[in-house]
């Protein structure tokens, strides 16, 4: 089965985010009032073969810990879903998420 893992990596709340501060001041200078904070992060999509969704999630979690996020400064979250074809091989319909 093919799964898609959607991983979000952000700096920990305790770590200063100079990019986020710069984007925030950019938004302020554009006239967007009330923006309290902006945090810049990374988004990764990982397509992988795994026997079960649980196994896919456990592999992605390991990838996050070992490479995708640096635990000293970053935290991560992810979701896993089946990719494309159903179990009977039917291709996804147009417009299907």
């Amino acid at each position: 089965m093919t799964y898609i893992g959607r991983v979000t990596v952000t700096l920990k709340r305790t770590v200063m985010d100079p990019q986020g501060s710069a984007v925030k001041s950019g938004l302020a200078s554009m006239g967007y009032a009330g923006v309290r904070e902006v945090r810049v992060g990374k988004y990764l999509e990982i397509s992988l073969e795994a026997p079960t969704a649980q196994e896919a999630a456990s592999r992605i979690d390991e990838m996050c810990r070992r490479l995708l996020a640096n635990p000293v400064i970053e935290e991560y979250s992810f979701e896993v879903e089946e990719a494309e074809a159903d179990s009977d091989g039917r291709p996804p319909e147009v417009g299907e998420p």
């Binding site: 770590v15 200063m16 100079p18 710069a22 990374k42 640096n70 000293v72 400064i73």
Partner: protein, 232 residues
Amino acid sequence: MRFGVVRFPGSNCDADCYYAIRDVLGEDVGYVWHRDTDLRGYDCIVLPGGFSYGDYLRTGAIARFSPVMDAVSEFAAKGGLVLGICNGFQILLESGLLPGAMLRNDSLEFRCMYVNLRVDNDSTPFTCLMEKGEVLRIPIAHGEGNYYADESTLAELVHEGRVLFTYCEPDGTATGRANPNGSAMNVAGICNGNGNVAGMMPHPERSCEAILGSADGLRVFRSAVAWLGGGA
């Protein structure tokens, strides 16, 4: 004494390190390819600056999984000298051989300039020919040199004398103005508990001859030679 300069895809200060060691310092040096796994015959391994693997994901994050890095860890565990410069420092942080991590410079600018560095520990392999408190001039060139570590790690580094270099004013005072990237405690270079693994953001290989503006960087390499009994 034989130095090894590791070349990762994207290293770009490897030739400068090689030149500084062979032509200026006058020591034996060889290149080590990132796929090599045998470091026998080397006394000191240098991880040079550059943009290994394009700095994709995070600086040094992918380079640390190069085959050579397992060998570098083993080499370090046996007491071999390892010096990470700029991107090399970032790789050492990612690999866990040194504590902490690098963030984007607080200015968000790539900083390429000479800085003043205060020597904070003069009894390590890469600083033993310096004097504690003296100020060196060595250039930096980086976009992600904003050293970060949690409070307890910073306290440990200070307590154990593992901060080697601190960004400072010409008189040695560490000020916000002298900090080019926002580093915690103005940290520019640190070492591990045994002192044999060191990382620094400034580029000593770029300041080994007076004609380049400063020869202070040569003392980093000379210290390593003296430490190993080469009497430089």
